[in-house]
């Protein structure tokens, strides 16, 4: 009885609708179709199913061939090739979000001017970051922290001891730090990242996963101490904009392009992927190979090459609090609630 809904081609649909058990309009056809799951004999069943799969595969290959042939023919004839079909992805079909930042929004710019990161982003204050951990440190923790220190320029590490986080915030404020990062570990693995903007900036709590340290990356590069360039991808909504600026405020605002070092925060489906690369532009000679062998013109193409260095991990925003860290009394600007996950195509960042 249970059958998987097959994303069939147009031809298969007719068969499917019968198979679904709906009052069929064509009883003659119904009798001909036998589902493999209705056959009790395993041997026979396997054979029928394999045959069905093979038929489907052949069908699909025929379609692809026909499509390619049509395109080639159209190109040869000089006509326009038939339009390429674009597959629907979740990003394509994302629910339209009205909080997306628009370029013509004056209130957005005013809000940006007034928010907490503005002094840093306007280069009035240089960012100074304090990194610490939760109370119990772990196996991978120190390695991760030392890598973070190499990624973020102008950062210091202090051992946690048993200080209250609120006291640490005050200490950092006194010493003029602009942000505080707390790496939280769980089961001997770094698990969450708490980034607190100072003096009274927002607090973002991220869930950290999929951490790969530098030593585990094949052919990794070694980061230098030049200021990195920042790439922030896909932070479109207002909330995303705020988080993006938060990340921006961790790094100094004068990237050293000669250092060829880039740090990327790529947001996709509410997961933020952190990568750290060094890049280099290669000039390659590209001999045009093909039918016209005699006039091979050597074209020069510039190709960038990337070498990954430093840690790579993914973050997911759990909560964004309005002031500094204060669980009991703090106000949340954004908190994830299960009732918000009603649609697979709805994202917040």
């Amino acid at each position: 009885m249970g059958f998987k809904r097959k994303k069939g081609d147009g031809e298969g649909e007719e068969m499917e609708s019968e198979v679904r058990g709906r009052p069929s309009f064509n009883t003659a056809e119904r009798r001909n179709v036998i589902l493999p799951s209705m056959i009790k004999n395993k041997d026979k069943r396997a054979k029928v199913y394999a045959k069905q799969k093979h038929e489907k595969k052949v069908e699909k290959q025929k379609k692809i061939k026909a499509r390619d042939a049509a395109e080639k023919q159209a190109l040869e004839l000089g006509e326009e090739p038939p339009q390429k079909m674009v597959p629907k992805t979740i990003e394509n079909t994302r629910e339209a979000d009205e909080t997306v930042c628009r370029p013509d929004d004056e209130e957005l710019f005013a809000d940006i001017d007034a928010d907490e990161f503005n002094p840093v982003l306007r280069r009035e204050v240089t960012p100074k970051v304090l990194i610490t951990t939760c109370r119990f440190n772990s196996t991978r923790g120190p390695a991760f922290i030392s890598e973070l220190q190499s990624v973020i320029p102008n950062s210091d590490y202090r051992k946690r001891g048993t200080y209250d986080l609120k006291k640490i915030v005050e200490y950092a404020k006194k010493k003029d730090y602009t942000s505080l990062i707390v790496v939280h570990t769980n089961r001997r693995e770094p698990d969450a990242l708490l980034i607190i903007g100072l003096p009274n900036g927002p607090t973002a709590h991220f869930k950290l996963s999929n951490l790969v340290l530098r030593k585990d990356i094949k052919n990794h590069g070694n980061p230098t101490s030049h200021e990195p360039e920042l790439v922030l991808n896909n932070f479109t909504t207002r909330l995303g904009n705020r988080v993006g600026r938060f990340f921006q405020s961790l790094f100094p605002q004068e990237p050293n392009f000669r250092g060829r070092r880039v740090v990327t925060f790529h947001n996709q489906r509410d997961f933020i992927f952190f990568r750290h690369h060094r890049y280099i532009f290669d000039v390659k000679e590209d001999k045009q190979s093909g039918a016209k062998g005699k006039d091979a013109v050597a074209k020069q193409r510039v190709k960038p090459r990337l070498q990954e260095c430093g840690p790579s991990f993914t973050l997911k925003l759990v909560t964004l609090q309005h002031g500094t860290f204060d669980t009991k009394g703090g106000e949340f600007e954004w908190v994830h609630k299960p009732e918000m996950d009603t649609s697979r195509r709805r994202f917040f960042l």
Binding site: D111, R238, K328, G329, K337, E339
Partner: protein, 442 residues
């Protein structure tokens, strides 16, 4: 134009809400029409400026001459006309020089009185403002009049200090406007008689619990339970507790219960006297029956930011909430469903309903405004407020040539939609100078 999300089953009853945000903008959201339309933002007043962040607001939405008082972060208190945003009057609580005496002191709240004390009713209003450091000031201001040039207040402002130490965060005036309630961080709730400026009652904190832990007092919001009884009120605390106090019974709270785990940020009462709506810092909004302390239900509306303000419409069965997630949400009271949500782009700090709005579909009437009042904080002598015409006729269609220039407004569409009442409720709108109510349109 910000878009809205609306639930298809319910439409929104005709409401008009004014929201205040952290950049000092005042936005007017209306839902018009008998057929239950969706709310849309019709107007935005003000220029975005973070130092003019609105900290508190209060509205007197009577039918004639409604007033809206707005308190801002830079110490200015403005009295405006809620129909078109025009500034009637503004003054600074920090004195005439306008600079705060110490850093940190800011207005915690204000209340605009509804009853009139003097005979020049149309030109004056009474405001109660209280500051974080504890100064409470009760002041009658007169609108400047074009006719006489003297602009002195009727009486010097009465002021007193409501708390010696700690911060004053909560203040409410009861329905009869004789009593005021103040409380805050390390300040127990007090009730003051506003005529004599004396404290008549103060609360006592609940005893230590059995572990010996004493939670420090920190009240974040309060509401009187009913309009004619000043004795019962509910408060919300920073330690996620809702407390009901009865002045005539005892000094300790009569009933107290916990609500989730974050600070309670907004609380309001229902006109039926026994239901309250509570919103907290992690975006939960719920209604409780205060007689028993039982939770009636949660309002699920995918709210994700701390709720700064909850108001219940006095006539319709709707409740609206606004908060740090930049949305204004309207819910139905009986079914607790979200009716609609309007995206308002900034962190919202306050919300009031304009209950004199009937939302009928009428022809667009453009008001003719004589422009000069630009955005200055000084008192302009141009406005004539005492033209108190009452219109008894049915909605009169007015169409005049539009001569716009509103002070400090960014009129999003080109037109001004004026609400004109039907026969029963009449309300006139303060129009500048030329009154053309009887001019029929061409």
């Amino acid at each position: 134009m910000p878009r809205v999300i609306s639930n298809e089953t319910y439409g929104c009853p005709p409401i008009r809400a004014l929201t205040f945000d952290s950049l000092g903008l005042i936005k007017v959201t209306e839902a018009r029409g008998k057929e239950r339309g969706t709310p849309i933002v019709v107007n935005t007043w003000g220029e975005p400026n973070a130092s003019r962040c609105v900290l508190a607001a209060s509205m007197d939405d009577r039918l004639s001459n409604p007033l809206l008082a707005v308190a801002r972060k830079d110490g200015n208190v403005e009295v405006r006309n809620p129909c078109n945003g025009d500034l009637h009057f503004a003054y600074s609580v920090f004195g005439d020089d306008g600079s705060p005496p110490e850093d940190d002191d800011e207005i915690s709240g204000l209340h605009l009185f509804r009853k009139q004390k003097d005979d020049h009713t149309e030109r004056s209003c009474t405001l109660l403002t209280f500051m974080k450091k504890g100064d409470v000031s009760l002041r009658t201001v007169q609108f400047p009049d074009a006719r006489d040039d003297s602009t002195d207040d009727a009486a010097p402002p009465k002021s007193w200090k409501a708390c010696a130490s700690g911060e004053l965060l909560v203040g409410k005036v009861d329905g009869t406007e004789n009593f005021g309630l103040f409380g805050g961080k390390r300040v127990e709730v007090n009730i003051w008689d506003l005529e004599q400026c004396t404290k008549i009652w103060s609360a006592k904190s609940p005893p230590k619990d059995n572990l010996g832990i004493f939670t420090p007092t920190w009240f974040t919001c309060a509401a009187f339970m009913s309009n004619d009884d000043h004795r019962k009120f509910v408060t919300g605390t920073k330690s996620h507790q809702v407390r009901l106090y009865d002045v005539s019974a005892q000094r300790r709270p009569v009933l107290s219960f916990d609500f989730h785990e974050t600070a309670i940020t907004a609380i309001t009462e229902d006109p039926d006297g026994h239901t309250i709506y509570v919103g907290n810092a992690s975006a939960d909004l719920a209604s409780f029956d205060i007689r028993t302390g039982k939770l009636l239900g949660n309002f699920l509306g995918k709210c994700s930011g701390s709720i700064r303000s909850v108001v219940r419409h006095p006539q319709h069965q709707v409740i609206a909430s606004c908060g740090l997630d930049r949305y204004l949400r309207v819910y139905d009271v009986k079914t607790r469903q979200l009716i609609s949500a309007v995206f308002l782009k900034q962190h919202l700090t306050g919300l009031v309903f304009d209950s004199g709005f009937s939302g009928e579909e009428i022809a667009v009437a453009n008001t003719e405004v004589d422009a000069e009042t630009e955005e200055t904080m000084e008192q302009e002598g141009d406005e004539e407020e005492n033209e108190d015409e009452t219109e008894e006729e049915a909605p009169v269609k007015k169409k005049k040539s539009k001569k716009e220039k509103r002070s400090r407004e960014k009129v999003s569409e080109g037109e001004e939609i004026d609400e004109v009442r039907s026969k029963k409720k009449t309300r006139d709108h303060k129009k500048k100078t030329k009154k053309v109510k009887h001019i029929q349109q061409d």
